[in-house]
Symmetry: D2
Subunit: 310 residues, 4 copies
């Protein structure tokens, strides 16, 4: 049987100024600091039972160490290790505890140069007593949370000069499912929107039209509840003097968005509300063509193409 992924787990980001980036992701955005170890800070969204969905590590420059994915079961981890080695890809085993919070893992670089990590088990530590919700199915109380704190990680958008190669490899080798895709007028692919677990877009693979750029992370999306929350988040950012990269709604996924970048690292977060979740076992990928709409965005605009290279 083919090994399978369950879901997107986390992003491991590098920043030239850890404390400044924390003041963005923890203090301004509202992710919870879970642990610090060896120069890395672990962050978790308020509705996540899992140990973390983001790590920040100080480095010479902003970068992406890896994107982490969880397998459906332990056997799949070994299965993926075997499968990747069969394809001639170097697989590095990481001991449990090397990165806090999850079990042993494999790391590898995709043929297009994106570093991924796969693991099967992640801890689900209780929040500190004073932050614990009285609702047993909610980790953090709303009391004491940042009012704009997003709920949980939703997807990553990865840019590549060989996006088609990348998305096909994700499908063929790693078993990603295509949820939607967008073709340009000349038939070339602009973007492919894939799911690891099968229920929603977890990886958007975008063609880097400027070609020569290295593999990059355009943004990491976290889910909020409503469009009102996007305005609240934009407002809170403005009060802190942090501009945003636009508010609106994507046609693809139908997710409403607010984009904001960490001033220290340039890493961009998308606050996302209402993106499609599907439970359909026979989902047919949605095929968009340039010209279906006047714009790739249904409402509003994205005002920056900046992205952080691996």
């Amino acid at each position: 049987m083919s090994p399978e992924l369950a879901r997107l787990s986390h992003v491991a980001l590098e920043t030239p100024d850890l404390e400044s980036s924390l003041s963005f992701f923890r203090d301004a955005v509202g992710l919870e600091e879970v642990a610090r170890d060896d120069g890395t800070v672990y962050l978790r969204a308020v509705d996540e039972f899992d140990h973390h969905s983001m790590t920040l590590t100080e480095a010479d420059a902003a970068g992406v160490d890896h994107v982490g994915w969880q397998t459906d079961e332990r056997e799949s981890l070994d299965g993926f290790a075997d499968l990747l080695e069969d394809r001639g890809i170097d697989v590095t085993w990481i001991d449990e505890g090397t990165e806090l919070g999850h079990g042993e893992a494999i790391r590898f670089t995709t043929p297009t140069g994106h570093r991924f990590e796969f693991f099967d088990e992640m801890e689900k530590p209780d929040p500190p007593e004073e932050r614990r919700s009285r609702l047993k199915n909610r980790p953090f109380s709303t009391v004491g949370s940042n009012p704009i704190a997003p709920q949980r990680i939703d997807h990553v958008q990865l840019w590549d000069a060989e996006a088609t190669t990348f998305e096909e490899w994700l499908q063929d080798e790693l078993g990603f499912h295509v949820q939607e895709y967008y073709d340009r007028e000349d038939g070339s692919r602009w973007g492919t929107f894939l799911s690891a677990g099968g229920n929603k877009i977890e990886a958007a693979i975008i063609d880097d039209e400027e070609g020569s750029e290295p593999p990059a992370l355009h943004h990491t999306a976290y889910r909020v509840d409503t469009a009102n929350d996007l305005f609240a988040a934009a407002d809170a950012m403005k009060e802190r003097g942090i501009d945003n990269d636009g508010v609106g709604q994507h046609s693809i996924s139908r997710g409403k968005f607010l984009y904001v970048r960490d001033p220290a690292s340039g890493h961009r977060i998308e606050f996302n509300a209402g993106a499609n979740v599907t439970f359909d076992p026979d989902w047919e990928p949605i095929a968009w063509e340039e010209g279906d709409l006047e714009d790739r965005q249904w409402i509003g605009q994205i005002e920056s193409k900046e992205r952080v290279p691996y």
Copy 2:
């Protein structure tokens, strides 16, 4: 390999007055009429790609013909047929087209008296041209939709005098996953909240404390976007002279709710916003005990226990 379910598909309801019930479910609630055939009307929510999630059939009295579930693949349908017959349960094969919109199916009665239907394939007809959204990933345009129209079916709540027997059978034989459960002070089980596909509560099995009652359907839940929509739906019902059974938020599932009953049949719909969806492959069932909170509802109340028997 064990056969597997993918998700809750639809409810097949009986009403003593079809036109009156349509004026509730279609005109007041905003489900779309898809087809009529042989005394049955097929209804579909505005965000559903699938043929229908509810049928209404005129009968002597309000009742429940069956609750329909979709398998993950065709093999699972045969697998379930074999498995059920092995357990001594009568399985009736239903030809494609007997109920419009889906392929061949099996019907059977659970040991506790609930009638279920399993099938694998369902059609995804396009909406009428004038109702089609310009967004390719949304079936119906918001233009012309009822402003309170819910998005898609979410779960059913089934009552039974032998709820524990029922929920254990759903787990053991049909592979349902427990998402949450609630035990009374004396340790007896009040409710078990299960998922067919593994991502969210799709069947709530409630102990019928009045014991002698027949198996019953308490409500069918449809998802809306926000708590504001619950107020909008309550308002629209009031304008039509239809009282509601309460607005608030469940502790279990965290779903915000509005309950309203079809005046003609007594069938109850829950407008539901924000219930937990989880993509965690290692979800641990949430164990509630009486006393964890003062009430089973986090906010507000449900004001009626009426339910419709099978």
Copy 3:
């Protein structure tokens, strides 16, 4: 010319436990502490430019010292003093600074036993630098505010055994305008909803059907933005272990509500969203009769009649 009121300004509340009441009104509700002086704490809502809209003073028992109203101009203050004395009502002049934040004032007791304060000028101090919004038309930044903090005082609801006498006196002597009223089936008045400034309900005068009770304050309402905020406030209260007195929507005023009481004093706050504001110079009072609707509430219920006597 007749003296005129401009608006409801503040409530001066007494509590048997000042620190506990502060932990409710300031920490849980999110009013800002402006000043402390001589056993009184001054509180202000986040969207108020004015010095305060509530004071809390420790006393033997919960009570209401006075309800404060602002006149349209300085001459009206003298005008009201003359007018009241003409009617044989004792008027006490209060020096500027006796109560912090406003100019000289008069205090008096209405014929039905409610203590009122009138003044003309109130200070508009800047918030502390670290709480100041970057928007010049908003006093407090959303950063650092309690996420459920209401925006500004909206109205008071006063109960009286002689409600009709009271509301007529407010109209005839003080120039209050009737926005809406509600008559029982037998023609007797249940409630009159009046405005001081003419744009919205600022004083709801309710017939105390248990007759023998002293004049009382049922609640002080503060405005929030949306129905979502009512759920957010209910949630935050539940997380703190504070039950609420119901969520829903009034028919009168159309305001959506959440009621919560300070556990220490019993003083009740209404979080209110969307109550009617009118700019119509020819507003005709809305006349409700029992039987117009099944209930006095359009949606939901109020679950307690507790009120705090003067």
Copy 4:
């Protein structure tokens, strides 16, 4: 005593294609058609008790016939007529019924070329029986209303090459109150935001930086409930193939906005949520200077300067 205005009442717009403009303002936006008479259609928002807040008349080109204002009482109408004639302005008396729904009126042209109408009384006809709300304080039921229908007229934005002359004249002669204003870096005035009744911005007077343009109307704003409604309105417009001119939040007034133009006439409507309303008798105008913020908008952008001349 000086005559006084109570509020903005309506805009009288001209369009080259009446039916097309109706399909925008009535069918797409959701204003209710009240009456037709002599080539003019009268429109009313769903929360307005008054006869109309907009008229549409077919003409050779898009234009503005007048902006209508209601006086506080009948005497003020005569007072304004006298006052204007004293200033050498031609005043034309309009008989009751010339424009349906309101009493006799005066019309005149401001020194900057904007045509205004003043009147004192407006009818408050009941909605058609089938559209009447069961709430006595709400004219139209939500059942049957366009789901994005705005509640009531809020303000007009007028552009002028001599904006300073215009806003000073509005203050000095007509008694408008300044709520906010915005000065450029060189000290020149970009915009003044005035109130007729004293509670909120009703006329925004903007300096037409291209100088040579005739007096113009940039937009008419109608109020909706929440930011979610702005997204809903943008969505409904997109489904009809009508692009919008941006979504976001103004710094001035704090109103959240969506701008959309009638394709036939170019007349722009602003859906506005949450603009400041103040009941403060001592409101100090908010003084903005270029440089207070990076942009005149707090969130988002306005994407077009098109406006319709008188």
